[in-house]
Symmetry: C2
Subunit: 256 residues, 2 copies
């Protein structure tokens, strides 16, 4: 049996995205790879799981000799199928991405890429989500490959604290244009949504969700700040959503 | 203009679920109500948003004179459409549910009900998700109505700290069988998944996601513990997923 680390790769832009091909390329020097990725684009699916439809799973030869599968479900479904149905042993590392577009700040909540990494963390697997700040289908992932390799090596060496994963965002640009890496906290920001209302050819109205992302955080320790300074941002991310600091405050309410 | 609080109601079990009808009933004594809920079941949709399909929005008379709409999207889509397209002023309170089934512990991540409340919190609206520990379509929501009223009143009086919402789970049973309310932290637990593999009539294989929920947390301050003691559990929940305690640790890594 191979002594190399077993690395599970997934994403939310589908198995056909350039970003996941880049990640496969990056991981080849680090271990044995299995890819389980959505068969269609699953951006914005957050931590969704498929419970009202059956899931389909098919082998794929899109990466040649590398063991790969497509799944009809969400990124989190891919992780669950990989762990409980496909893999013969637990992976040593889960990497998700490289996403086409930022998952910094509160985007972590909407992101299928990051939710796959969070699911890995729930399963106790050291997990990392990578995202490039470029939505272009044909984006340049050269710098992403370098940083994904470097950060994955660090995680394989050092491990990750139980219950956590990493949210890594990489600025657009050549490797020499980037400032290095920075450990950050998740910035405070929100989508100022607007809906583009249209009429279909049959007279019915429908909406497209659009919007602008508003950074409301002046801190110089956030991922948004670091990315603005051309740093690769690394946010240690946990799935304990308890606002622990509020527990004593709420206990002062009249709960009788 | 009405001086009453404006209360936005949504859920993930669809506008036709008994749980949301119970919540509408509970909120009628507290303010003016607008309902925006999915037109189909959206359980397990987490924080998903709809960006690759157009969204449909239709007025509904399912609650008689109460202003109500159905949306073709997810619970988070409902909240965004309500705030940015439907409501003429910002709501004073957002309540989501009452969900048919538990959203305690790590279920908060998969839950459409709770993701709607988290989206409300991102928008700065005091928000609460309510869930009853009973998946039955015809579950008894009498105790839920009492507690939803009580807790919503407390939130309208006291407000909620910025960036937080409440995750409320209610044990099954009559009001007199319950032990009262407890402020808790999110329990550590995970789904031991298993996939039920079947063959369709055409020879293709497909999977249903099933599993058992494993509580790995011995603490007596968790929501799972409180629910086991027949308490209504209240977890203050935040959307800052940063593992702040790890930032100094990661800064010791060789990031050069």
């Amino acid at each position: 049996m191979s002594k190399k680390p077993l690395i599970l790769i997934t994403n939310d832009d589908s198995i056909n995205a350039k970003g996941i091909a880049s990640l496969v390329k990056a991981m080849q020097s680090l271990g044995d790879i299995v890819v389980v990725a959505p068969d269609t684009v699953q951006s914005g699916m957050g931590h969704a799981i498929t419970i009202h439809h059956p899931l389909r799973l098919k082998p794929s030869d899109v990466f040649g000799d590398i063991e790969a599968y497509t799944c009809s479900g969400t990124p989190v479904d891919c992780v669950k199928l990989a762990i409980y149905e496909i893999l013969k042993r637990r992976p040593d590392l889960l990497v998700s991405g490289v996403n086409h577009g930022s998952n910094a700040a509160t985007n972590v909540l909407y992101s299928g890429t990051m939710s796959a990494a969070v699911e890995g963390a729930i399963e106790g697997i050291p997990s990392i989500g990578f995202s490039l700040l470029d939505f272009d289908e044909d984006a340049d992932f050269d710098a992403s490959i370098e940083y994904a390799t470097k950060i994955s090596k660090l995680v394989l060496q050092n491990g990750l604290s139980k219950g956590t994963c990493l949210n890594v965002n990489i600025p657009k640009g050549k490797i020499d244009d980037l400032s290095g890496m920075k450990i950050c906290r998740q910035g405070k920001a929100y989508w100022e949504d607007s809906f583009d209302k249209r009429q279909d050819p049959f007279g019915g109205s429908y909406y497209w969700l659009t919007g602008d992302y508003r950074n409301t955080d002046k801190g110089e320790d956030t991922d948004l700040w670091a990315l603005g300074q051309n740093y690769v941002s690394i946010v240690p991310t946990q799935f304990d959503m308890t606002a622990h600091h509020l527990i004593s405050n709420l206990n002062e309410w009249d709960l009788s």
